[in-house]
Amino acid sequence: SRKIFFLKGGTPQRRETMNEAGDGSDSKKDSVPYQIRPPFKRMFKPNQVKTLIRQVLEEELKDKSYEPVGEANAKITRNVAQAVKKRLKELPMDRYKICVQVVIGENKGAGVRMGCRCFWDAQTDRLAKEEYSNDELWAVCIAFGVYLY
C-alpha cells in the first residue's frame, strides 16, 4: 500500500509544496517548496539498520560471557549501545535523532518479554530491532529514528 501512495501523489517533496499565492493554483513559478518530510533516500531505513545492528552485536558479543559479579557487564552493554549509535550516525540520513537501547541478560532459561510503543509521526519515524544470543548470554538491541522537523 505504500507503493500506491507514491504513484498517486508523486514524490513526497512535491506533495508538501506550498504555494505563495495561497489560492491552490499549481503555478510552478510561484510555489515555494517547504520540505517537512525527508526525501526517501535520506530516510531511516529499518532493514539497513537491522543488518547493521546484527553486525555490531555479533562483533561485540561473539566471545563474551556474562560475568556474575563486577562492572564488566554494565561496561559491555554501554559499549554495544555506543557502538551501534556510532555506526548509525555514519548512515546517510539527515535530521534524524537516534535512540538506541541495548538489553543484555544471562542465558540461563529465565523467561523474558520485551515490548515497545511509540507516539510519533509514522510517516517519518521508524524503528529497527534485532536479537542475538550465544551460549552465555542473550542480547536485544532496538534503535529508534525520530525526525526533527
Partner: protein, 137 residues
Amino acid sequence: GLSEFPTQFHRMAEEDYSWNKQRVHDSVMEILMAEFKKDDKDIPYDENKVPTWTNSILEKTMKKLDKFGEEKALKFAATCTIMQRTGDGIHSATSCFWDKANDEVVVVKYPKTSKFTKMVAIVTIFAASMYVEQPDD
C-alpha cells in the same frame, strides 16, 4: 513502607502535566506497581500472561505521556522489559544522538528496592522534541 506507595502524595500533583523527569518516573512507577500487585501481594510470573502485562503497561504509559508531551511538543518511544526473577542478571544501556537540552531518557526500574519480587521490569522512555525552538524576531 510508605516509600513504596507514593500514590497519596502524587494525587495532589496530578493536575500539573508539564514535563518533569521525576514526575514522569513516579507516574510510570505507579503503573508498574499497580500491574504487579494483587491484594497487596506480588503476583507470580506467568509465561502466558507476560504479553498482556507488557501491552497493558505500555498502553497506560502512553496515555500518561500523551498528557506530559503537550506543552513541550514531544515524541515518545517506550520499551518495557519484563523478566522472571531467577537470580539471573540483566543489564540495559541506552545511547542517544539528539539535543541534550530538550530531550530526555527516563528509565524506571521495578522493584524500587532490592525487595524480592517474582519478576523484574524496566521501562525506558525516550522523549525527543519535534522541532528546534526558534526565537521570535
